[in-house]
Subunit: 181 residues, 2 copies
């Protein structure tokens, strides 16, 4: 136990490419990654200091004379091994928490219009997210010659494909509700 902390792998994955501060890590997670994983200061900073103690990362003070010192983190060989072991492992948990579907499931406690409204809110959100994902896709398409970018690209197309499926479902669900309820 105490080895199940998923945020560790997110951090190691990011540090594999470049040295980062805790704040940088949060920003990276808030970008394209946030569509399939989230992080907060409340778990990033504790994870960094734990991983430093167990030798997965090392601190590197930035040498910016005059200005305040930042704590840059750097991945160690041990950290790289941990990252690769995780990538090689079969185990992968895909956990979903759709409050929208929860509300729909219990929709019988209210009227049809409430359910329709909630589907509408969801649709709104999906459309907005989809627009962001599409700009990510366009940007990435221009730089697919770099291997890493292919991996990023695939996670973006995953988002686009599923979000498009959501929108299609929304149309059908509204129709079904209007006919059946």
């Amino acid at each position: 136990m105490a080895k199940d902390r998923k945020i560790d792998l997110v951090i190691l994955g990011l540090l594999f490419h470049e040295d980062l501060t805790g704040y940088d890590i949060k920003k990276r997670i808030d970008g394209a990654i946030s569509f399939f994983w989230k992080g907060s200061f409340g778990n990033i900073y504790p994870a960094l200091s734990d991983m430093e103690k167990s030798g997965l990362v090392k601190k590197r003070r930035s040498e910016t004379e005059g200005r305040r010192e930042k704590i840059l983190y750097h991945i160690t060989d041990k950290g790289t091994d941990t990252l690769k072991d995780w990538l090689n492992a079969k185990q992968a948990t895909n956990d979903l928490k759709y409050e929208t579907l929860l509300k729909l499931y219990f929709g019988g406690a209210q009227d049809k219009d409430t359910a329709l409204r909630n589907i509408g809110y969801f649709e709104e959100q999906v459309r907005a997210d989809l627009a962001v994902l599409r700009t990510y896709k366009e940007t990435l398409e221009k730089v697919l010659d770099r291997k890493d970018h292919v991996y990023y690209y695939l996670t973006v197309t995953f988002g686009i494909d599923t979000y498009e499926a959501y929108l299609k479902w929304c149309r059908g669900a509204k129709k079904t509700l209007n006919i059946m309820c």
Copy 2:
């Protein structure tokens, strides 16, 4: 704060239809709901006793002479109001945690075959879940005359539609990886 506990709403939603024990609630959540929300004894039992204190649910001892007493929970008027207020509120958090996509995103730290293998594992899992969802759908289609079942049905079709999109994406992603990496 201390009002953001989502498990409360899941429990209230279930109790709206019938009185249940904590154990029953866990079983219900492990069924069709588990595709979009999860629960554990570790949050169900504390939630039940907190909600009893704040008057959202009431204990009802089962009168089964001889046998062990079960603690059945019953929703109160206050609990029903809380449930309806939540259904009427716009706010709905849809949180995804795809370890599969996380591994894919950081795939550059390993070779193409590892990424392909991980997509394969995901595909396997999705196929299995899809089969379960399809039997749910068939069962529900026979009883769509009851209003509640329409709501259950829609959450199931959501699952089927998105899982089918996943499978389509898997095929495309494997092709892209083989061409580009």
